[in-house]
C-alpha cells in the first residue's frame, strides 16, 4: 500500500490521476481525516525512482489543486490499510490541527543561489577563509531578507535555510494570492551575481510544524 497524503474530509473531491502502475487512487477515512492510497505491488519496486516519484507527485498536485494536503514522503509503504488507518489515528489530533491551520494556504519557494568562488591556490589563512564564508553567508541572508520584505504583504509565515548552493526561503501565502505573489516577485531587482528562482504553489510541507 502506498500512502500519498492526508486531507480533511470536506470538501469531497475527485481524483482524476492514476497512481503508480495504473493503480486507482482511493481513500480511507479515519478519525475525521481522509488518507489517499493506492495498491503497490512488486512490479512497481523494479521501476526507476524518477518515473515513480513523478507519477506520485502528479497525484499530489491533482489533490492539492483542490484542497490542502499533508503529503507523505515518497515512498511511504505500509503492509495494509489497517496499518495506515492506525498511523493516521495515532496522529489524528496533530494532523487535524495542522490541516485546519493550513486550510487556505500554499507554500511558495524562493531559491537564492550565489555561485561558489573558485578555490584559492591555498595561500589564504584559515581566518581569511572563514571570513570569506561568513561574508557569503551574510550576503545571502541580506538578499533573503530583501526578498522577504518585498513580499511582506503576502506572507503569512516565512522559513528559510541555508543550502550548498545558497539559500532557500519558503513563504506561506493565502491560496488565492499565489499568482500575485509570483507577479510581485517577478518585478524585484536582484543584486548582481545572484540567481533567484521562485516557484509555487506547493503543499505547505515546510510549515507542518508550528515553530
Amino acid at each position: 500500500m502506498l500512502a500519498y497524503c492526508i486531507t480533511e474530509t470536506e470538501p469531497d473531491i475527485q481524483v482524476a490521476s492514476v497512481g503508480l502502475e495504473g493503480h486507482a487512487i482511493r481513500s480511507l477515512t479515519e478519525s475525521g481525516l481522509r488518507c489517499f492510497i493506492s495498491d503497490y505491488g512488486k512490479e512497481a519496486a523494479g521501476k526507476p525512482v524518477r518515473e515513480s516519484a513523478l507519477t506520485f507527485s502528479r497525484v499530489l498536485q491533482d489533490i492539492f489543486g483542490q484542497l490542502a494536503i499533508i503529503p507523505f514522503c515518497f515512498p511511504t509503504l505500509l503492509p495494509s490499510e489497517a496499518e495506515i488507518a492506525g498511523f493516521v489515528r495515532e496522529n489524528a489530533d496533530e494532523y487535524r490541527k495542522t490541516l485546519s491551520r493550513l486550510r487556505d494556504s500554499v507554500q511558495m519557494d524562493v531559491h537564492i543561489s550565489l555561485p561558489e568562488q573558485k578555490l584559492e591556490a591555498g595561500d589564504e589563512s584559515g581566518t581569511d577563509y572563514l571570513k570569506k564564508r561568513l561574508s557569503r553567508h551574510q550576503h545571502l541572508e541580506r538578499v533573503a531578507e530583501e526578498l522577504r520584505r518585498a513580499a511582506q504583504p503576502w506572507i503569512q509565515d516565512w522559513r528559510q535555510r541555508e543550502v550548498a548552493a545558497g539559500m532557500r526561503g519558503h513563504a506561506l501565502v493565502a491560496r488565492g494570492l499565489a499568482a500575485s505573489f509570483l507577479e510581485k516577485m517577478a518585478g524585484i531587482e536582484i543584486p548582481a551575481g545572484f540567481h533567484v528562482r521562485v516557484t509555487g504553489p506547493w503543499p505547505a510541507a515546510e510549515f507542518l510544524k508550528e515553530k
Partner: protein, 112 residues
C-alpha cells in the same frame, strides 16, 4: 537553480526490501562496473554533508564572538583543507561537485 538534492539516476529502482513499515528511502546503487565510484560517491557525499554542517556551526560561533583568534584560524585552516581534500578525492574518482548531492531522501535534511 534549485539545490540538486534529488538526482536519481535513470537505472535506480525503488526499494521494497522492508516487509514492515517502510518510510521514504534513499538508494545508493552500485554495480560491478562502478562499484568503486558508487561507494566513493556515498562516502564523499556524507563527508560533504558533514563539512557543510561543520562550516555552518563554525561561522555561527565566529559570528557569536565566542572564539579566540587562534581558534578561528585553526578551524578555518581545517575546513579549508577539508574542502580541498574532498574536491581532490572526488576528482580522482571521476566525480564532480554536483555528484556529491546524491539522493539521501529525507536523511539528507538531518543536517539542517
Amino acid at each position: 537553480m534549485p539545490d540538486q538534492k534529488a538526482n536519481p539516476e535513470a537505472n535506480d529502482s525503488v526499494a521494497l526490501s522492508m516487509p514492515e513499515t517502510s518510510g521514504a528511502t534513499g538508494r545508493i546503487e552500485c554495480s560491478p562496473e562502478n562499484i568503486e565510484q558508487g561507494l566513493a560517491k556515498l562516502v564523499l557525499s556524507l563527508i560533504e554533508l558533514l563539512r557543510q554542517l561543520l562550516e555552518r556551526q563554525a561561522i555561527r560561533r565566529m559570528e557569536g564572538g565566542s572564539l579566540t583568534d587562534q581558534q578561528v584560524e585553526e578551524m578555518g585552516q581545517a575546513l579549508m583543507k577539508l574542502e580541498a581534500k574532498i574536491h581532490e578525492l572526488a576528482t580522482s574518482f571521476g566525480l564532480t561537485p554536483a555528484d556529491l548531492n546524491i539522493d539521501l531522501g529525507p536523511l539528507g535534511r538531518l543536517v539542517d
